[in-house]
């Protein structure tokens, strides 16, 4: 039935080697052209083809003429008889091969029948044939281009780069971006944040009125002469905030004691020192 040995055809699909494929391709082409139309059964093996266009191209090359001058009509007939043969043998063909067959049958009819110009937009048979010829030429051109690319002296195959490159050592310098606004914002916000978190209410040392009065009673018991009140209090003026509370409390206490007749106060003028003594009447004990 087929001239292809089973081993030959089995080898074809799995092959990845482009060179081997190219050789197979050449073999196939030769077989196609040698056999001609006398033995169409030869061409039924479609395993080695990459779709209907590829098959058409192989058939076209079997015409041994320039693709530009190829007879599309003959090509269409060749393809159709190929498909017919395949069907006769009940071979399974992929759908796209059949679609192409249908299209070629249509093309054939358009080429054989005189052109009926019923639709301006419709392409004539010749135009359709030219389009197909173009596609075949273009596919072949791309195939040739691939071969020419692979035939170039390639890096790592035929030409070589420096095997031991001396790599550039990158020394990184960082430059930092920050402007005055960033700086001030950072300062202001952290000052503010911190002022909120660190406010502590200090426990203030406060003399109560009673404490001041007790102190005055103890100290003034033996004062018969006018004496500046500060002289008694100075020993408690250790810190400024204590001074304030001592003065305030003892002044208030002294006023209270005057009202009670326990004490006399004298001040010559505003902001002058305040003098204090025990009243004569109650000054029962001589101090001297």
């Amino acid at each position: 039935m087929s001239n292809n040995s089973p081993a030959d055809s089995a080898e074809r699909p799995g092959t990845e080697d482009p060179l081997t494929q190219a050789l197979l391709w050449e073999n196939q082409k030769e077989r196609l052209s040698d056999a001609g139309e006398a033995e169409p059964s030869l061409m039924v093996d479609v395993d080695g083809f990459e779709g209907p266009l590829d098959l058409l191209l192989a058939l076209a090359r079997s015409q041994k003429v320039d693709l530009a001058k190829i007879s599309i009509l003959a090509l269409a007939e060749q393809y159709l008889s190929f498909i017919q043969e395949a069907r006769r043998m009940r071979l399974e063909l992929a759908a796209d091969y059949l679609v192409m067959a249908a299209w070629l049958a249509y093309l054939k009819s358009r080429l054989l029948l005189p052109d009926i110009k019923d639709d301006e937009d419709e392409l004539t048979g010749e135009e359709l044939a030219a389009a197909l010829a173009f596609r075949l030429r273009r596919l072949e051109a791309m195939r040739d281009a691939a071969a020419r690319l692979m035939a170039r002296p390639r890096l790592g195959q035929e030409v070589f780069a420096r095997g031991d490159p001396e790599h550039v050592v990158t020394i990184r310098h960082s430059t930092y971006a920050a402007n005055l606004y960033d700086l001030l914002t950072a300062y202001a916000s952290q000052r503010q944040r911190n002022s909120v978190t660190s406010v502590q209410v200090k426990k203030r040392a406060v003399w109560s009125l009673q404490e001041a009065k007790d102190l005055l009673v103890r100290m003034l018991g033996k004062v018969s002469d006018w004496t500046p009140i500060d002289d008694f209090l100075v020993q408690y003026f250790a810190t400024p905030d204590q001074k304030a509370t001592v003065m305030a409390s003892s002044f208030t206490a002294s006023l209270e004691m005057v009202r009670e007749g326990l004490l006399e106060l004298r001040q010559s003028n505003h902001f002058e020192p305040l003098y204090v003594r025990t009243p004569e009447a109650t000054n029962n004990e001589p101090i001297e």
Binding site: E16, D17, P18, Q21, E50, G51, P52, L53, D54, D96, E127, A130, A131, F134, R135, R137, R138, L139, A141, M142, R143, D144, A145, A146, A147, R148, L149, M150, R152, P153, R154, L155, G156, Q157, E158, V159, F160, A161, R162, G163, P165, E166, H167, V168
Partner: protein
Amino acid sequence: MTDAVSEKLHLRMLEAMLFASDKPLQEADISARLPETANLRHLLVQLSELYEGRGVALKKLADGWAFRTAEDLAFLLQAEAEEQRRLSRAALETLAIIAYHQPATRAEIEQIRGVSTSKGTLDVLLETGWIRLRGRRRTPGRPVTYGTTPDFLEHFNLEAIGDLPGLDELKGAGLLDSALPPGSPMPMPNDDPDLGDEEDPLEDDLFAPDVVLEDDE
């Protein structure tokens, strides 16, 4: 320094930089590392001449310059040859189509090959680093466009995409025109990293490298 002395120094600097690198260096990058007074074009010509006929040659590759072993010495260096994955015929054709027709969509590749492209074919090519996803075509469905990379040029020893073998003939024959039938405008393959009018960038999230945020703490 006299002109002759400084020129000699510049030539040595150029030689050292190109020799040290295994990748082509762009002229702008070389200039940045040479003194301002250096005339790079002139130096490159001089250096090329210096290496003419030697075992190593200065080549203009992938829009840059690089030293490569002389092509005729390939036989000598087969010990260094890298094991290369063999590409299937489908992959080779697809690569050629992308190279000559870029930017090209999958549909365009399939239209030229007349057969659907298996996912594996594009994957294999992407893995070689020779092709890349460029962007999206501004047409319905916004298909991804493919193009070649600088590594492609470097691997195939090409100065620029315009130096693809047989490009002028293909153009002249109208075979790079994807429209049927052969029409007037003859497109040129374009591997410009900048997207063309008909391309949109890929989505940001699709293949964007992670954005690295710097932090010094």
